[in-house]
């Protein structure tokens, strides 16, 4: 019952000044709809760029890095009688191979945070058709495994992934390369490695990622082809690509994989720091815009309440004279602010959704961006509602406390 009467009074005051209420609520509506839209756009963009990154980068890349020379061999040779120091140690260019990759792979498969694994070996090559030549990288992979990671199948324009796994001397090339070398499915392409070894491979598929640098240079073939081009044995694997469940946690998982295997693990975040910096900047811009708008909306509520209190000061005095305590008066005006905030926030959520939806239908058509990437997350709507209410609360608190300090006799005396 106690809650009832404060709410009732707050509600009556709201309804009796409908216009001001609507104006104040509109402030919140504007703030919250901007909050929703900015978040939808920024998150959409972030997700889009993350998708782009993860379409070419595995969550974790495991490889054999060059090592700094150490005293191990020296100690073995000279024994422990002397203290052996290497001054000015150098990086030792090694073989870069992962020793016994199948053992490493099966070790990794036992971890339950790992969702997909793919071994690979790559080489810098020159592609040629008749006398035209192009530079690029050829990736020897198990195409079906790799497809689980990067969804290559969805980018295939001609041919199929399966024909690569069925045909030992097959190659899948990018659309850009196909155009430059005038190749179509079924044609042969000559691939030459830097050591002079070369192979003639049949094009069984053409993919198009719309990322130019990839479409122009990247090709997929079976692992033995690259091993032969590099004149290495059948166990020569340079990279193991690893996808994990919680890819935001990739750096930490990478660390533990490093300890487990002894090889270097590079998380996607560290190979895409540039893009992640962009994400951070976008977040900061969006947050500052939203906070600014919410502050403005807060001032709107603050103003309206101050006005109401100024007008109702006599009535506040009467309420206090008939037994309302300070806290009750605060309660009345806080409720009024919260009601404004609630109405405004609800309208803001609806309006924000409408803006986001409209913009998501806008055609951009630049490169691989067809429509603006817009994310619709329930989380944003819950946050938006809470922010609206919180703004209303803080904006209402100061005037409400002021109202509660009204001295009834002073007002009633006039």
């Amino acid at each position: 019952m106690k809650i009832g009467i404060n709410t009732e009074i707050a509600f009556t005051y709201l309804v009796s000044r409908r216009k001001q209420t609507i104006v104040a609520a509109l402030g919140v509506t504007f703030g919250i709809s901007m909050f929703i839209f900015m978040n939808a756009l920024i998150t959409g963009t972030n997700e889009y760029s993350e998708d782009t990154m993860l379409n070419t980068t595995p969550h974790i890349r495991l490889y054999h890095d060059n090592e700094l020379s150490n005293g191990r061999m020296l100690n073995r040779f000279a024994g422990n009688k002397t203290i052996n120091l290497i001054s000015n140690p150098q990086l030792v260019p090694g073989d870069n191979r992962i020793v016994n990759p199948d053992a490493v792979t099966s070790l990794l498969k036992q971890r339950n945070d790992v969702t997909a694994l793919s071994q690979q070996v790559s080489a810098n090559v020159i592609y040629s058709n008749s006398s035209v030549q192009e530079n690029g990288n050829i990736f020897g992979v198990n195409i079906l495994e790799q497809n689980k990671m990067f969804d290559i199948a969805s980018t295939i324009m001609a041919g199929s992934l399966k024909s690569l796994s069925e045909n030992a001397n097959a190659i899948i090339i990018g659309a850009g390369l196909a155009q430059r070398l005038n190749l179509s499915k079924g044609d042969y392409i000559k691939v030459t490695a830097s050591n002079g070894a070369s192979k003639s491979l049949q094009v069984v598929g053409i993919f198009k990622t719309t990322i130019k640098s990839i479409d122009n240079t990247k090709t997929y073939c079976n692992i033995p082809i690259v091993q032969q081009l590099l004149q290495k044995d059948r166990a020569y694997i340079t990279d193991i690509y690893i996808n994990v469940k919680d890819y935001y946690n990739a750096p930490a998982i990478g660390k533990s994989i490093e300890q487990l295997t002894g090889y270097t693990a590079e998380a996607w975040q560290s190979s895409n720091e540039q893009s992640l910096a962009g994400k951070k900047i976008r977040d900061i811009i969006a947050n500052s815009v939203v906070i600014t708008i919410l502050i403005v909306a807060g001032f709107g509520i603050y103003n309206i309440l101050n006005m109401v209190i100024y007008e109702k000061i006599k009535e506040i005095a009467i309420l206090k004279a008939t037994g309302f305590q300070g806290a009750h008066v605060v309660g009345i005006f806080i409720r009024q602010a919260m009601l404004i905030g609630f109405i405004g926030a609800m309208a803001g959520l609806a309006f924000g959704w409408l803006i986001s939806w409209t913009v998501s239908k806008m055609y951009i058509g630049l490169g691989n961006v067809t429509y603006l990437p817009i994310a619709f997350h329930v989380k944003h709507y819950i946050q938006g509602g809470l922010f609206g209410m919180a703004t209303a609360f803080f904006a209402g608190y100061i005037p409400a406390v002021k109202a509660s300090k009204v001295d009834p006799v002073q007002i009633i005396r006039g």
């Binding site: 019952m1 009074i9 009556t12 005051y13 008939t322 037994g323 309302f324 305590q325 009750h328 006799v409």
Partner: protein, 225 residues
């Protein structure tokens, strides 16, 4: 007989526009169930005193006890709760809440007290309004009735929580003789029948002489009681 009100050497000063000694050493007692009129010339300090007696004004010297509780020096929140439960106050310029209906105006102090259910409060409020012959105005906005009607609604509001002390600053100032008689009879019945204490400031000699006791003031002092 139990004492409802005891004022001891109350002094009140106004500081603006210049220092003014409005109440000068006021002391008196009122018994429970007594119906007291306060009279005196305009400007002699009647309203000023009533605001102190009603616990709203706490800025005075001296001491005040109501229903054997010391009022002087209590916290504002405590005093508000005390007023809500024990004091019905009728303002000189009735002061209703214009955004609410007459009925709501009467109900609000009872809803605040929260002792009865909403239905019971509404029923009681209707009864009070009917007794004062404004039952027909119950659902009108408080700003849309006549001055005399407003005053009677304000009286109903003062009575809604069945307070033990009822204070009125010229409660019948705006009423015709018939309604003045209604209000007087009501006060009479509350005092004699229900042992309520009535303290009413009045310029109406007739009204004053029919009450149990007259306290007469002049220039901030009590000259007869």
């Amino acid at each position: 007989m139990a004492i409802a009100l005891e004022a001891n050497n109350i002094n009140k000063y106004f500081m603006t526009p210049e220092k003014f000694h409005a109440l000068k050493g006021i002391s008196f007692k009122i018994n429970q169930g007594e119906f007291v009129s306060i009279t005196g010339k305009s400007g002699c300090g009647k309203s000023t005193m009533l605001y102190i007696l009603s616990t709203m004004d706490t800025d005075y010297e001296g001491s005040l006890q109501l229903n054997n509780q010391t009022i002087t020096g209590q916290k504002q929140n405590h005093l508000a709760a005390f007023r809500n439960e024990h004091i019905g106050f009728i303002f000189q310029f009735h002061y209703l809440l214009p955004d609410f209906s007459c009925l709501k105006n009467v109900m609000i102090p009872a809803l605040r007290l929260g002792r009865l259910s909403r239905e019971e409060i509404e029923h009681n409020a209707y009864e009070k309004l009917k007794l004062l012959d404004v039952g027909g105005q119950a659902l009108k906005a408080a700003s849309r009735i006549s001055g005399g009607q407003q005053q009677r609604v304000a009286i109903a509001r003062a009575l809604i929580n069945e307070p033990s002390i009822i204070m009125g600053d010229e409660p019948t100032g705006n009423l015709d003789s018939r309604n003045t008689a209604v209000v007087f009879d009501m006060f009479r019945k509350l005092a004699s029948g229900y042992n309520k204490t009535i303290i009413a400031v009045t310029h109406d000699n007739d009204f004053a002489h029919k009450s149990d006791r007259i306290i007469e003031m002049m220039d901030g002092k009590i000259i007869a009681q």
